[in-house]
Each structure stands twice: as C-alpha cells, then as structure tokens.
C-alpha cells in the first residue's frame, strides 16, 4: 500500500529523472572528456566535484542491482570467480558486474581512478584493491581510524594529512591545480544538501508520518550520488515542501498509522515492497532508520568556513566508525525523537561492521526503553539468504506483542 502511495509523491518521478540524467552523464563521461572516479559511499566526494571529476558509487549501483532483483545472479558469478559466498554481496555483485557488464544499466563506466574511504568497513579496502587490479588504475585510500571511544588528536592529524594527499593525488590525476575556490562552493552546497536531507528525515516525527524509511531508502540516492551539487539542494528543498504539504493535509504514508517503528541496518533491497506492505498491513510505519541518516549524521562536525579541516573529523566519526555503545546511544536518541513503539533490526549477513554488535544494542534498547525488538536474518542484496515465510511469521508475532502493549 505504501508503495502505491509513494508513486503518488511528485518527487519520486523527479528523482528518477535526475538519477537517469546522472547515470547518462556518467556513462558518457569519456565522450565528453571527463574523468570518472569510483568512490565509496562514505568517501569525501567534494574534492572530486571541485575538480570536475564525475563520481560514481558502486554501492548505489549495487543497491539498484538489488532493487531490480539482479543480485543473486551477479553474486553467483562472483562465486564462480572464486569469491566466497560469505563476502559482502555489494562487493560480489560489483566485482562480477565489471567482468560481465550485467545489471540494470549494463555496468558502470570504467573508472580513471578509485577513491576508497574505509570509514564504513574493511570490505571496501579489499573490494577496491580487486578493482584496482582489474582496471589497472590508481587507488587512493583515505584511512579513517575507528573511533571506538574517542577521536584522538593523532587520528585528526593523520586524516587531515591524508586530505592533503588526496588533493595532491587529484592534481596528479587531472594534471591541474586544485581549485580551492570551487571547493568552497561545493562544500557549501554539500552542507546545505545534508541539512535539507536531515530535515526531510525529521519530518517523519510527525504523526502520521508523511513518509517511511522505505521512501527514505529511495530518496537517499541523491544525497549519496549528487552531494555537493545545486541539483541535490533544489531537489531536497522541493521534497521538503512536499512533505510539509502532506503534513498539513494530514496525509500519512501508512493509512491509519497506529504503530511506529525504527529500522536498523541496510534495506533488504529485493524485498522493499513486500516488507513495506507487510508492516503497513499491521498499521505499522517504519518511520526512521539508522542507515539513511548516515549521510547527515556528522554535520555537527562540519565547519563551512573551515571545510577541509572539519571534513577529516566528519568522515572519521560516522555511524559505522564509532563504538557499538555510541551507536546504541544514537539508536536510543532516535527512539525518543521519532517516538517509536518497536525496533526492527536487520541482521545483515553481508555487512559485518553493521551487524556485529547488534545483539548488544538490542539488549541495551530492551533494558533502557522496554520496547519490543525484532531481529530478522537477511542480506541486503543476496536473496538466497532470505526466507520470506520465516520472516513473515516473525513479523506477525512481533506486531502481536506491540499491539498488546499498546492496547
């Protein structure tokens, strides 16, 4: 149900058009004498834009592969190439896609360089090494030491030094001087875009919620791929307007929203519609999630007048690069802010840094809030690790508990 409504959102079509344009531009980069950089989703994209390099995100592409249910096939091809089926399915799908040119858009444009920031996981390091060998192009690694408990001064020094190395790397790749002036502009747009995205996410605090986490998963693509551009800023302004309008008219994404839930971990891309319908049939709306806020969660560290320095800190202290206890704190804040009745955790076989520690978070949430917590076993892309009937039974049982609690 929520899915059919989503299509009624004016912004959804707009967003599809923008993404199509973005991918057409990226795919025709070489004809237009533009360079392409592949970059991890948590990587600093702003310096690329300042140098007129087109950023491409294998993770966003992998999400598209998942949503179009092409993940299993590509993952299996990677397994035939010798990659264990226990590895991150984004990585598996992308690695084999490069070889077979599969997926919904026939593969990504060939990179001229690779930018890997390990603030999300160690997987991206290995994955980008594979691609560096395959495409035989330079790889820049931005190493962001994990902040288990603190952001140490030596960490700040190290990451800051690498931002300079990054700029030097881009100067070598483009054979042009770095454009600091332009970086300031891009930086401002990036901050503005992130703030607007946060605002969009915040609208779901309203009851009934004008959109759900499933919509957030969809609308996320622009803040990932077009962060730092005017296009993203304009789009999210528009989206905010649409949300405000829905709030004013009292339109909720789930008809008769009765229960509000929080989602943890990546989406299950190939089951979005089914999951959305299953929850909304219970009158439950997934109003927020821990994943989509990652692209605005560290805005508090960014100083627009001192973009380069603050960028180091913002990239190092993102959600997946902090200790599990700090993650639990953020979850507790969200539970309060969005006033949710239950917490749904996706135990994602593919993503170890996101999933290990979840059980401790679950206990903390139960102890501190008393709300029911459900953990479902799945994988964001590889549907062979998903049992629909099992998950359905568990969701039904979970919703029963919530209903009883609220009755």
């Amino acid at each position: 149900m929520s899915d059919t409504k989503k299509h009624k959102m004016k912004s959804a079509k707009k967003m599809r058009d923008l993404m199509t344009t973005y991918y057409i531009d990226a795919l025709s980069a070489s004809q237009n004498n533009k360079q392409v950089a592949w970059i991890t989703s948590g990587g600093p994209v702003e310096p690329l834009l300042a140098m007129d390099i087109i950023p491409v995100y294998p993770e966003n592409h992998a999400a598209m592969i998942g949503a179009s249910k092409m993940g299993d096939d590509l993952c299996m091809k990677a397994e035939e190439m010798g990659y264990s089926s226990d590895l991150c399915s984004y990585a598996r799908a992308d690695i084999s896609c490069s070889v077979v040119k599969g997926g919904p858009i026939g593969g990504l444009p060939k990179p001229d360089m690779l930018i890997c920031c390990n603030n999300i996981c160690g997987t991206v390091l290995k994955w980008y090494e594979v691609q560096a060998r395959f495409y035989n192009v330079p790889l820049f690694i931005l190493d962001t030491p994990m902040c288990h408990t603190h952001y140490h001064p030596e960490t700040a020094t190290y990451v800051r030094a690498q931002i300079d190395e990054y700029i030097l790397f881009l100067e070598q790749m483009t054979k042009r001087k770095f454009d600091h002036e332009k970086l300031m502009q891009v930086g401002r747009l990036s901050i503005e875009g992130q703030l607007l995205w946060q605002k969009v996410l915040n609208t779901t605090r309203h009851k009934p919620s004008p959109m759900s986490a499933f919509d957030a998963f969809f609308f996320l693509a622009l803040i990932v791929t077009l962060r730092g551009t005017r296009v993203a800023v304009d789009f999210y302004k528009e989206l905010n307007r649409e949300m405000e309008e829905r709030i004013q008219k009292g339109i909720g994404i789930v008809p008769n929203e009765k229960y509000r839930l929080l989602w943890d971990n990546l989406p299950v891309w190939y089951q979005l519609k089914w999951l959305s319908n299953t929850f909304s049939d219970h009158g439950a709306c997934l109003v927020a999630d821990t994943y989509t806020s990652a692209w605005c969660g560290t805005i508090k560290y960014i100083d627009k007048d001192n973009f380069l320095d603050s960028m180091a800190e913002a990239h190092t202290r993102i959600y997946l690069n902090i200790g599990v206890d700090q993650m639990a704190e953020q979850v507790l804040d969200m539970i309060k802010f969005y006033d949710v009745d239950g917490f749904v955790m996706h135990s994602n076989r593919s993503c170890k840094p996101y999933s290990f520690g979840q059980m401790d978070i679950m206990k903390i949430v139960r102890d501190k809030t008393g709300i029911p917590v459900l953990m479902i076993e799945a994988d964001m892309l590889d549907s062979r690790n998903f049992s629909q009937s099992q998950v359905e039974t568990r969701i039904d049982a979970f919703m029963e508990i919530i209903k009883q609690r609220k009755a």
Binding site: N118, G122, L125, A161, F356, Q358, M359, E377
Partner: protein
C-alpha cells in the same frame, strides 16, 4: 627433543601455563592479532599472550555474535564469557578486520578484566603520514601501559625487549629455513608447537630454548625426503591434526604465509634506532596481512616469491569460514600462483575439524596431482 616437548606441554595446557606465569607476579595481556605490539607489552613488565579459541561449544557468545562470525572470534569470546580466560589481566585490540573491531567493542562493553586497550593502527602502511601515525599510536599505547604498570618504560627496557623478540624471531626463521633446506627435519606438529608456544610462553624461556633447538637441528643427519613440498597460506592455523594429515598424505611443510607463522616472525627490528620508531617501522614494513594495505598486488607477488624461494610443489590455502580479508585475496593469489605455475588448493575451515577423513583424501589427491 626435550626442548620441543616443553613447547608441546605449554600449548597443551594453557591454564597451567597461565598460572605458572601468574606466580612470577606478571600480569597477562591477551590479544588476537599478529600486529599486537608485544615488544611494548613485554617492556612494560607484562606478559603478552596470544589468544586462541579453545573451540568449545558456543553458548554465551550466541548472545553477542551472529552465526556468520568467524569461529576464532566467536570462540575466544565464548572462552572469555565463560570464565576460561579469567587469568587475563587485560587485553589489547590492534586494528585488524571488521570482525575484530566489533569484538573489541563487545569485549569492552562486557568487560571482565582490569585493562582494556584499542591500538588503532593504520590500515594503509605505505605512506609517510601512516608511518607517523603508527608511531603516534604506539607512543600512546606505551603511555597507557606505563599508567597501568605504574612505572616508566625506559629505553633500556625497550631495547632489551627488542633484542629478546629479535632473537625469538631470528631463531624461528632459522628453524624454518633449515626445514626448507631439509624438509621433514622437523615434524609439522613440532613446528606448530614452536610457533604457538613462542606466542604464549614466557619470552625469556622461549628466547633461551630456541637457539638450543636450532643447534640440535643443525647437527641432525638428514635423509633425503621425497615428500611433496607444501606452503600453507591463510590466517591462523590452529588445528594440529592438519599437519599430521598432510604428512600422512605425502606432503611436507616448507614454509607458510600465516598470521601464526612467517608473517608474524619474519622481519627484524632495528637495534640502533630510537626504539619506538624502530618498532613502528617493523610493523609498517613486515610482510603485510590482507587486512592492511601496501599495494593492490603485493600479497600476490609475495606468495609467488615465497613459493619460489621454498621451491614449493604446491600451496594450500587454509581459510577460516567468514574471514573476509583472506577470502577477498584468495582468487587473485590463486591466479598469481597459476600464472607462476604453482598448483594450489583451498580448504575452508569452520573451526571444528569435523571431517578429518575427508580432508585427508583431499590432501592425498592434491599431493598426487602436484
């Protein structure tokens, strides 16, 4: 050889070993990764002890780590939660893989011991800024250790420690090269005991035993061995049965690329430099593990050159199930070996060696094929 038996006794009864060490009033610091700076721990007057899983059934750790976590990490957490590691006074977690990073958080949040440290090493090791950062991180750890022990770590302490570890490493290296020259000189099981023992026993003892073993081995008469020369590659290999099975199948180990093997002990620390700097350089420059980066193809080149140097007939990859860094490297390492004309096989272990019989058959097929 009686010196080797001391190692066997030590690794067979970790608990007895720990209580022996405790009697000397030394505090025991555990860790799970070959990047743990043992030299600093030892210089601070603590006993560094590498942790291995006792491979007991997973019961308590089920509440903290899902089933798709590697058996090493689940196993060690189980040991800790069930009190089997209560002899520990603390632990240190150097940055390794995603799984260890999360284990560090879970460990800290369920803390059972007096000391806990994260040593968040750089992942990239090939730049000056990363090298500087490595020095900074080790300096911080040194200060933390001083706070814990209540006394300063002097340069003299550090130099003594460096010499001790250099000697241990050099002698292990010698034993390996003797074995490469005269395969079968030492049994796989003994080799395993020496390496594992050197990571958990009193280091002064290890330091005095190893040279004796070396000179005994040097005097031994060797017979020509026609067994197939094998290199093992992987993370840790803590299944002694494998060595026996391999030898029974007509193979002999001539070298390894393991965290509990050559990757851990090759490479000397400079003795004429500022000690922390020297230690940092060794960790930056040592044979790289797949969770760290020096270049996209470095491990491929390393494994081929190791196979050539040891004149290996084949390489056996022993990977732990759910171990991401190693699983990502396997296809390309194999490809490099294929190109170099070296045959290889893959074994995926999930901790428990359930079917040794099946493994033996696979080893036999492999040694016949190469």
């Amino acid at each position: 050889m009686k010196e080797i038996n001391i190692f066997h006794d030590a690794i067979n009864d970790g608990k007895a070993l720990a209580s022996k060490i405790k009697k000397t009033d030394k505090k025991i610091i555990g860790y799970l990764c070959s990047y743990a700076p043992e030299e600093l721990i030892y210089a601070a007057g603590f006993h560094p002890m590498r942790l291995f899983s006792s491979k007991s059934d997973i019961i308590l750790a089920e509440n903290h780590l899902q089933s798709y976590c590697c058996s090493l990490v689940r196993g060690v957490l189980e040991d800790s939660l069930s009190g089997r590691l209560d002899y520990l006074d603390g632990t240190v977690f150097p940055h390794t893989c995603d799984t260890i990073q999360r284990l560090s958080d879970i460990w800290r949040m369920n803390n059972r011991y007096e000391f806990f440290w994260d040593v968040i090493l750089p992942v990239k090791l090939n730049t000056q800024s990363a090298k500087n950062y490595m020095v900074d991180v080790l300096t911080r750890f040194k200060k933390d250790l001083e706070k814990a022990s209540g006394s300063k770590i002097t340069d003299e302490d550090l130099n003594k420690s460096i010499q001790t570890f250099n000697r241990i490493r050099k002698n292990l290296s010698k034993i390996y090269s003797l074995q490469t020259k005269n395969p079968g000189l030492i049994k796989g099981l003994d080799l395993y005991a020496l390496v594992k023992g050197a990571m958990i026993m009193d280091r002064d003892e290890v330091c005095s035993l190893l040279p004796k073993i070396v000179s005994r081995l040097e005097q031994m008469n060797t017979q020509k061995n026609t067994a197939k020369r094998i290199v093992i590659s992987g993370s840790i290999c803590d299944s002694p049965d494998i060595y026996q099975a391999l030898e029974d199948a007509g193979g002999v180990i001539v070298g390894d690329d393991l965290c509990t093997g050559q990757r851990w002990f090759e490479g000397k620390i400079m003795e004429d430099q500022e000690p922390v700097l020297a230690i940092a350089s060794r960790y930056s420059d040592r044979m790289v593990c797949p969770a760290k980066h020096i270049g996209p193809a470095v491990r491929g080149e390393n494994i081929v050159s190791l196979a050539q140097k040891t004149r290996a007939d084949g390489v056996i990859f022993m990977l732990l199930k759910f171990c991401d860094p190693h699983a990502f490297d396997y296809p390309y390492l194999k490809e490099f070996l294929d190109k170099g004309g070296v045959k290889s096989m893959l074994i995926e272990m999930d901790g428990q060696l359930s079917s040794l019989g099946q493994l033996s058959t696979r080893f036999e097929t492999f040694t016949h094929m190469i």
